[in-house]
Assembly symmetry: D2
């Protein structure tokens, strides 16, 4: 039980820093020892904070034989090749989502992992949010009975820069992909999707070939149905809720709030709006996520979010994109 | 301002009784004086309670020249011909929804009303619910800015008898029709609908050629999108909520509850579930509705729910039915 | 079960009108047939609305041998003598609170009722509020276990006119008396009270010899303790809540609201404030109250709020007044 | 701005560990370098985790001239003498509450601090809770107008061991002292207190000479009034709420919850109960607290909770104890 794994981090950006801090403060079974980033000063800053060896080259991490596992937190277009390379070096792998925007490369990465017999866990952090995890548990424990209707609301507080939109793969692969994962997490496999949407938030998003507002209808393999709604801008903050309805009842999850105060005045009762930023909402989930990865490596158990779990939402997102473009339901 | 109209009631069933009581206790500007029902004992019971002249024949009401207005609360298949007849007699008309399940007959009824120059108001009572009326007002006052996403949840506590299902016209024309009206009330005209659904509550409903669970995606004329979800059985009661999201914010409305108590025990915090029955939820709305009808007659103003408002949801419901059967979006 | 009692009403003011309407629309077992008020036009208006015989003299009601029961809704200083007179005429009595501000006259009234063997019910309407009734039921059913702590919040939206304050008997006998009744209703007999308070809302209330803000500490006969807080002005509306805490849990009751909407904007989440006026909050309770009185007469059962229940809060209120004046706890 | 202070920790128990972790992970401006505890293994365990020099003797910390500040987290009966000794060594001091149970020793400690010109901050952690801090800010910003009524609910999930009760100084000095601090934090100085209470949770607490349930009435210097209720056992968890009412409105704060789910079933709507343990509720507050201490040392500003703030609640608690014993209000 005192086993501790040695971990290397590829990517010293926002999400890499979060995982570094989580490991340092919350995950006793892991020891983060090295970081690499092509942006060397970023790697150095993080290295200094956590006493890590530093490199500008991910290969340094991949070929460090003292490391048991790597965290791939670099840009999406590097994920699949880094997975392949890490697997070849026999390292367990935690990779941020999405694995890739190409199914071929996703499949190649998963195949490499299987050949190497290493663990691969994909960073769908929302599964580790206390609210959604509780909904999942309530469903698994049979409290809603047979699942009938799933509703997911997922709205960002503000759109990303247009430069990001342009390379994001579009709203379905960039934003809704989280909700497709949540849909699978809660109700199982999706077999058909239909998407409607439009450009309502910012014409520049339309000019970039994307949309900013969407609703998806889902059919699940178990016969249940679902609906997801997305917006790139909810002025009241980051809005992430689910509602799972079935034969025996409904369980839902609300947002998290900075505080619980309410102000009763002559104008009404005013409460705080939800957390504005996804990091505020999901910070505890990131810690639980990395801990889950380390646990599955230490205990040699199945990762809670597998490579197949990383692949499936990409497939659904592609179908949603096709559905929106052709205005017809698309089977998965 | 002291004008009082004389009203006749056709149909002494559940909804007829509600309107009789509302007029007697809440609507000073109306005097209910006559009731007719083919079920004479039902008419007599109501007549005795409110001191009304009683008949088994609606014609008695229609040809009573002392009456200013009639309330048509008889079965749906009698609505359109009673509207035509009442219009021909120059009476103002309040008619329960739906006007009819045939567009031809709806159009004929509306045409007769227009020729006669009488008022016709359709009984979409939910528009008069304090919660939904407040949402409407907030939207109208610009509080959500440009409308983007509308979500409507509408679930019955238990399915009606199969005998009723068989003649109901199907879930879209029987249950969702209310939600299509609510969608139009809040976000305006619907231009396209896509429906998914299935038989999840009771196989007997499927055997009767209907479904019991559905989700509809909507496109509105103003570019907004929406989603409606329906179930014939929510074990926790009658579940009727809306959520209107736009560029400047969101306004939603929750259910009503029998009381406000909460019980904090070692098992959690337990609150009362919503009202179980639509009459409990909407009783105040029925009163407001009839008062609005009487007001428009007395003050010679436009009814708040017109014949066109009665027709449109039928058209959308038919499109939804077709969409479900053909699994494709259908334009209105 | 078809028995119907004949009822006379003394007092055609605000509360008399409410009871008249409740009987007409909600209480089938009672028939309101007569009204008397020294303000004859008020009596006539009500008489016209409900087809009642009308008088300016309460004696007309008291000596009408066709009447089974009377509702005493006249000013407080007439209550005790009218109770005595009605009892002598063998009529069952519903009397608004308080019975009197003199314990001698209260005792005389109760004695007259006992001699006559008629029913006397006191109008503590809040006991019939759905929220508080549920709290009572939860306590009675053992859900909180042994009672430990009772918290009552009772705040008016605005103070009454100074002219009313001057003859009200002071805040303890005018406002807190309701809360003392609620305390007894929920936790049983009060054995000691300590009051603090002051003039915070309006100096004119202080000039009239009264206070407008107060907190009472209570000791109950069962060993539990409690706290009541009062204000004459809550700018956000009529605020009436309770919280009952015990060995097995807590049950509380919130206010009622005009609607359930919530508005999510960049400024926060805004909900409607509670109902502003006590009639809005308690209108359903008034109906339940009168129905309970009629039921106890028709079924010859004990009134749910007895003469002793009318006397006890006056005693506590007097003790609270003394406690405030002498700044010491006072035993009942 | 890059100044970093060197900190020594006296006491490696539960609260000492919390502060050690907070400094290590959240407070960049402090460097924890040494720990001392008479329980040497406890000190060694903590020392190993955070790479600290370790001692069984607090004097080692006090005489380490490289240290700028000390955290006194040892038992209460050591606080005042450690404060005096630390002040004599010119060290800034963070001390857990209460300073002492003797006013003489408290005054001696404060005098030593003043002579030495060092900072002294007392660990009233609840002031740093996001909910209560927001209430404070709303009051300070004038949102409730003039303060009228303060209600504080403070209930533990379960009583401490009887062995602890026996040396705790009694409920007023052990539990209510936090609420007296909160009362001062929100509404200012307390000038009179009256306490009622009893043994309702466990007779063994009574046998130890203490009570387990209490309500305190407060008078504030500004004329406002307040009420605090305490219990040693709330079966539904740790219950810590406040409600501040004034001329312009009310602001309250609710508990924190493990998650936001709600389960709608045929039995009602069930939510999670509040966090059960004070550490779960207040963990973020502990971090903010230590950060505030370090900030005041680094920036040479007044500590947000002074020695006088540590003394005042002890005085109020003693008055409450006297009030309870003598059943009369006691002036401060």
């Amino acid at each position: 039980m005192n086993k501790q794994i040695r971990v290397g981090l590829i990517g010293a950006g926002r999400i890499g820093k979060i995982h570094a801090e989580s490991i340092a403060t919350q995950v006793a079974a892991a020891n983060l020892v090295a970081v690499a980033d092509v942006d060397l000063p970023a790697a150095e800053a993080l290295g200094k904070q956590y006493s890590l060896t530093v490199s500008h080259d991910p290969q340094t991490i991949l070929h460090d034989t003292s490391l048991d596992a790597v965290l791939i937190c670099s840009p999406t277009n590097t994920h699949s090749s880094l997975i392949v390379a890490a697997a070849q070096q026999g390292k367990h792998i935690f990779c941020e989502k999405p694995i890739d925007l190409s199914l071929n490369r996703i499949d190649a990465a998963i195949a490499a992992v299987e050949r190497a017999g290493v663990k691969l866990m994909i960073g769908f952090n929302r599964r580790f949010d206390a609210n959604f995890a509780k909904v999942k548990q309530m469903i698994a424990d049979g409290h809603i009975g047979d699942p009938h209707i799933l509703r997911i609301t997922s709205r960002d507080p503000a759109p990303p820069p247009i430069s990001y939109i342009q390379v994001s793969g579009g709203i379905f692969l960039d934003l809704t992909i989280h909700d497709f994962d949540m849909a699978r997490f809660l109700f199982g496999e999706v077999v058909e999707v239909y998407a409607v949407g439009g450009v309502m938030v910012d014409p520049a998003i339309g000019a970039a070939g994307d949309i900013d507002t969407a609703i998806m209808s889902l059919k699940f393999a178990n016969g249940a149905i679902g609906s997801i709604d997305n917006s790139r801008r909810a002025v009241y903050g980051y809005d992430q809720r689910v509602e799972a309805f079935g034969s025996a009842g409904m369980v839902n999850a609300d947002n998290n709030y900075p505080n619980s105060h309410a102000y009763y005045s002559a104008s009404g009762i005013l409460r705080e709006k939800p957390f504005h930023f996804f990091l505020e909402r999901y910070m505890p989930a990131y810690g639980s996520e990395i801990k889950a990865f380390v646990d599955c490596v230490v205990n040699d158990t199945e990762p809670p979010v597998t490579g197949a779990d990383g692949r499936a939402p990409v497939v659904i997102a592609m179908a949603a994109r096709q559905s929106y473009r052709e205005n017809r339901p698309v089977k998965i």
